[in-house]
């Protein structure tokens, strides 16, 4: 099972993230491998991250994408909480 390239992969990852972070106010996925589906940047803004250390927030994203990560070369994660 290979990760789809380009925007297909981006949509799929975004869909998984939306399912795992239902309270997310913003989700953005960018293929940074030139469309090869090998490396992604994910940006998730959610209330679910409030009062959690960055490493815990990133760990939540790692868990959410654990299956997909197995097929990636790399992943960059940016998490934040919405402005109150």
């Amino acid at each position: 099972r290979s990760l789809s390239s380009g925007s297909e992969g981006e949509s799929r990852l975004a869909r998984v993230l939306r399912e795992r972070f239902p309270r997310a106010s913003s989700i953005r996925v960018v293929d940074i491998s030139g469309g090869c589906g090998a490396m992604y940047e994910v940006h998730v803004e959610s209330e679910e991250f409030r009062d959690k250390r960055t490493v815990q927030q990133h760990q939540m994203v790692n868990q959410a994408l654990s299956e997909e990560i197995k097929h990636m070369h790399g992943l960059r994660i940016f998490t934040s909480t919405p402005k109150p």
């Binding site: 290979s2 490493v55 990133h58 790692n62 990560i69 197995k70 990636m72 070369h73 992943l75 960059r76």
Partner: protein, 163 residues
């Protein structure tokens, strides 16, 4: 690298992977799964006990691809550069490309799928993204201070103020 290629490497076995000194720089932060299994070499270099010993060896321990003198991955290089900016040159760096058991073991230990991994005082802090964030928001200077390490950036600021 496709899933099929990776499966081919698994068939070659861990022994064949050992001795591969380097990977192209473009590979970046490695995802989980090259060595497949969940276990980290039972009693070997990837066991919990072995990893525990390594992370406690020094206040600053980094698991990376390549070495500080020659990082073999852009994200590992970023960690090295950030530490260098803060004047941290004395730390323990482990090249996971030299040891597939350690490569999987460190991921099991921290329950974190990627390399590089930074440990401060035996505690997992994060990867390249988190270290970069800590560097940008001043947290890294604070964490180093807790370890009794004075960041070089504090002295750089002082010089700026004098001017």
């Amino acid at each position: 690298m496709s899933a099929a290629l990776r499966a081919g490497w698994r068939r070659l076995g861990a022994a064949a992977l050992r001795g591969r000194a380097g990977r192209p720089l473009s590979q970046g932060q490695a995802a989980a799964g090259d060595s497949g299994g969940a276990e980290g070499g039972g009693g070997g270099s990837g066991s919990r006990e072995a990893v525990e010993r390594l992370v406690r060896e020094h206040p600053v321990v980094v698991f990376m691809k390549g070495s500080p003198a020659q990082p073999l991955c852009g994200f590992s290089n970023a960690v090295v550069q950030i530490l260098r900016l803060h004047g941290v040159e004395d730390y323990r760096a482990h090249d996971v490309l030299q040891d597939p058991d350690l490569r999987q073991g460190i991921k099991n230990y921290s329950n974190w799928p990627t390399i590089p991994q930074v440990y401060l005082n035996g505690e997992f802090v994060g990867g390249c993204d988190i270290l970069l964030q800590m560097h940008q928001n001043g947290d890294l200077v604070e964490e180093l201070k807790k370890l009794g390490i004075r960041s070089a950036l504090l002295d750089a600021e002082k010089d700026q103020e004098k001017k």
